[in-house]
C-alpha cells in the first residue's frame, strides 16, 4: 500500500517528479499536496482500497506522511 500511494502522489501531485519523497516525508505541512490534491487522493484511496476516509481525518496532523495515511486507511 505504501509503495502504491508513493507512486500515485509522485506522479500526480509533485511539481517535479524527481523530487525525493519517502514514507516519512511530510506531504501536507511540507507543501507538497494541498486540499485539491487531497480530494483526488481521497477518491484514489476509495477506488483502490475500498476505504472512504472522512475529510476531518485528512489533515496535516493525521494524514501528513504516507505512513500516517496507511494507518488511517487501516482504521477504516
Amino acid at each position: 500500500m505504501e509503495a502504491q500511494l508513493l507512486e500515485f502522489i509522485r506522479d500526480e501531485f509533485l511539481d517535479d517528479p524527481e523530487t525525493e519523497i519517502d514514507a516519512d516525508t511530510k506531504l501536507i505541512s511540507g507543501g507538497f499536496i494541498d486540499s485539491f490534491s487531497l480530494v483526488s487522493l481521497q477518491s484514489y484511496i476509495e477506488r483502490e482500497f475500498g476505504k472512504r476516509i472522512p475529510a476531518p481525518r485528512i489533515t496535516a496532523e493525521s494524514f501528513d506522511t504516507i505512513k500516517q495515511m496507511v494507518q488511517i486507511i487501516q482504521q477504516f
Binding site: F13, L14, D15, D16, P17, G31, D34, S35, F36, V39, Q42, S43, P54, A55, P56, R57, I58, T59
Partner: protein
Amino acid sequence: MISFEFFAILGLSLVLYWLLPAQRARNLLLSAASLLFIWLLDHQSLVVVLALTLFSYGMGQAIYRLKRNSWVHVLGVIGILASLIFFKYLGFLAGLFDSLYIFLEALPRFSLHHLLLPLGLSYIAFKQISYLSDIKWKLVKPGSFADFLLYNSLFTIFLAGPIERFERLNPQFQSPRIPFKKADLELGSRRIVIGLFKKLVFADWLGFFISGIWNNPSQYHPGLALLAVFGYAFQIYLDFAGYSDIAIGASRLFGLRVMENFDRPYLATNISQFWRRWHISLSDFIRDYIFFPLSRLSSNKVWLLGFVPVIAMGLCGLWHGADSRYLIWGIWHGLGLSVYQIFQQLKRRLGKRKMLKFNAFFAAIAWPLTFMFVSLGWLSFRAFGLPMARHIFFSFEGLTLTLISFLLLIFLGRWLPAFLLDIGARIRWRPAFTLYLLLICLICYSALNTEFIYAAF
C-alpha cells in the same frame, strides 16, 4: 467579550473550578457559568442555545444508534441550518419580500427586520453540524448531554469561536481531573493580555484613524485611501486575532486546550496558504464539511477547479451575514483559490516538461500579490467599500500609487517576512511584560471601546 460580566464570571468560576476535586463537578460549574454568561448577554440566545443543544443531541443519539442513519443526519443538518436561516437570513429575505409587496401594492406587508440574531448562533450551528457529521462518519461518540451542553455553551469561546470540534474538546471534559499547572495560568493570562493589547491598543486605534477615510473616501487623497485599505486589513486581523487570543487564553486558565485560529496569515505566499492561516477553525470547517463533499459530487475538472471553490467560499462569505458584500468577498476568495489552483496545475505540467523558467519571478511576487489580493478583498467586506474602490482605482493617482505600493512590497518581501519571523522567535517573554501591556490596555480601554468585529457574525 471585554466586559465586566465576562471577567467577573471568568475570575469567580476560575477560583471555584480549581477548588473542586473532580472534573465532572468542574464541568458542571463551567456549564452553569457559561449559561449565566449567555443569559446576562441576551436571554433569547440562552433559549436558542438550549433548544439547539437538545435538538442536536437527540439527533446525534439517533445517528449513533440507527444503522440507516443518513436521513437523520440530513434532517439534523437541515434543522440546524433552518434555525440559522430563520434568525440570520429571514430578516434579509423578508426585506426582499417587503420590496416585492411594495411593488405589487396588493398584499398586506409583514416585517421581520427586527428579528435579532442570537449571539454565537453562527458558531454553534457550525459546531453542531460538525458534531452530527462526525458521529455519522464514526469519528466520535455522542458523549453525555452535560458534556455536549458544555461544548456548545463554553463561555470562553462562545461569542466568536474558535469553532472547536467535539472530538478535541470532549476528551478534555472526560479527563478524570485536569491537573492544575502554574504554566497554564501564566500562559493563559499572557494570551489574554496580548489579545487585549491587539484589540484595545492596535485594532481600535487603527480603526479610529481610518474610519473617517472609509466613511468619506472622496474627501481624502487616493494615497491615504489606499493606506486605509491596508489599515483595515490589519484592523480586522488584530481585532479578530485579539479576540481569539483572549478566548484561547481564558480556556487555558481552566486547563483546556483550544485550537489556534491564526498563524501569521499576512505572511502567506499564496491564497491557499492564506486560508490555512486565517480563521483556521472556519476554513477547516469549510474544507471538511463543504469543500470535500462538494468535490465528491463530480470528478469533472471544471466543477472541481472552477465551481467548488467559488461555491464553498461564497457560502463562507454568506456565513458572515445576509449581505451581498460578504457574498462578493467570499466569491472573490473563491475565484482566487480557483485561479491559483489552475496555475498550480499548469505549473505542474510545465514543470514536467522542464519548461518552467519563471520560478524566481513567481517567488518575488508571491507574497505581495497575496497580501494585495486579500487587502482588496476587504474592500467588499467592509461597508462603503465601493466608493473607496472607485476613489482609488478610477483615478490615475490611485492606480499609480497602487502599482508603486506593489513594487515596494516586492522590495520589502525580500527581507520583511523573514525579519518578522526572526523577531518573533527572538522575543523572550518576561512576566513584567504582561503587567506593562495590561497597564497600557487599561489606559486605552477608557479611551476607545468598540465591539469585536467577528462577535457580530
